[in-house]
């Protein structure tokens, strides 16, 4: 699939993504906390709070319960960076989607490896989350292919109009599952944001110190990648469109924070049913539409 030149480009992009995405993701996470606090009538922490948190976690004692969860999390981090590299190098969208799922699987294994009942419950639910969002991600990629006539992300740069012109339903469907992917309420069922709910902190209950820091950094990178996917819908051959795409991505991200703060958690059945329904209706309608135009 990769020509040698492409492969080199992907590797360079992966390294760049591994350096830059945590920085951007950290700032976004800090902004998220400030905006959330303002929505709740509080002042909120400093912008760099997520960075302070991770720095502290790195200095904590190492008391891993399983001995391998740290390794799994390192793998998850590497795959996240790779998925980001593939996407931002303008390479294959489908590949990026699969590899970021690999990262989720490593995260799930890290949770299972602790053998804590809370973490296992969280891991089971995380698996359900993957099951819930994956169909829509695939349909989104299919619609992308049908609209851009390629799976290569840099294909959008040759288009005369952004793919959103013909993929609005798929985009809306993707927004729905984006909430699951960003682990935001109402779909934060595997890893509740605050540990006062029935599964403590689910997947990350047993993780501490360095391993927990890796989880945080992985989330920062994931957020940047997914916002990149959002932005992709709005880019066409006009270079100015990239600015527009970034603005739209930030607006969508603000919308996600708004949703996060205003909705209570749903049951996993509701999540699975609704996301498959959305995938079928929005994704399906879009595929049929694209097949006929």
């Amino acid at each position: 699939m990769f020509a040698l030149g492409n492969l080199l480009l992907v590797i360079v992009a992966t390294v760049l993504f591994a350096v830059l995405a945590p920085i951007a993701g950290c700032l976004l996470a800090g902004l998220d906390r400030i905006i959330s606090a303002r929505m709740q009538g509080r002042v909120g922490p400093p912008l760099l709070q997520p960075y302070y948190d991770v720095r502290k976690l790195l200095a904590k004692e190492d008391v891993s319960v399983s001995g391998v969860d740290g390794v799994y999390m390192t793998c998850a981090l590497v795959f996240t960076a790779f998925a980001g590299g593939i996407f931002f190098a303008g390479d294959n969208l489908l590949m990026s989607a699969f590899i970021i799922t690999m990262a989720s699987l490593f995260f799930i294994m890290a949770a299972y490896s602790s053998r804590s009942p809370f973490a296992e419950l969280g891991a089971g639910r995380e698996t359900l989350q993957v099951m819930a969002y994956e169909p829509m991600v695939l349909l989104m990629a299919v619609c992308f292919f049908m609209a851009a006539h390629t799976f290569m992300v840099d294909g959008v740069l040759d288009l005369e109009r952004p793919i959103i012109a013909t993929t609005l339903p798929a985009f809306l469907g993707f927004l729905f599952i984006l909430t699951i992917k960003l682990r935001k309420s109402p779909f934060d069922i595997a890893m509740s944001h605050h540990a006062h709910q029935e599964i403590v902190r689910g997947t990350i209950t047993e993780m501490s110190g360095r391993t927990l820091a890796k989880v945080e950094v992985m989330h920062w990178c994931e957020n940047i990648l997914f916002l990149g996917w959002v932005a992709m819908f709005f880019v066409w051959s006009n270079p100015a469109s990239i600015v527009l795409a970034v603005i739209v991505a930030l607006a969508i991200w603000f919308l996600e924070i708004f949703i996060d703060n205003n909705f209570a958690r749903v049951k996993w059945q509701t999540m699975l049913n609704s996301s498959w329904l959305v995938a079928l209706v929005f994704g399906g309608v879009n595929v049929i539409f694209l097949a006929f135009v």
Partner: protein, 147 residues
Amino acid sequence: MGYSSKSPWVIHYDASSCNGCDIEVLAALCPGFDVERFGIINTGDPKHADIFLVTGSVNERNIDIIKQIYDQMVEPKVVVACGICACSGGIFHDCYNVIGGVDKAIPVDVYAPGCAVRPEAIIDAVVQGIAVLDQKAEALKAMKKGA
């Protein structure tokens, strides 16, 4: 300022408190006092917490739970006793099943008296706790280097 001082995550345990002090602890997290301004988060997971806030006195039933939560916390860690019950047993000190303050179960670093303890006192106590936390973090780092 050390690494720990900018992000002290707390875990709160209600020993045999009358709930007065618990409500004050939660008040400290609400908009009026908003301790998240200092990076303080109320985690419910001992593995993630740096500061252990205990309210209420220690009795025969909860002494093991307090010890267990303390043991599950990752070094460096600090214990803050919130309210006079947690400091010494308070008005419950001569009840038949009350053993006394939290220091009967685990080492306490900061005592915050009051009945109920005021949110301002809790914030002051946590700030003092942060200083202890920094000292412990330094000691841990030195130990790691030595090892």
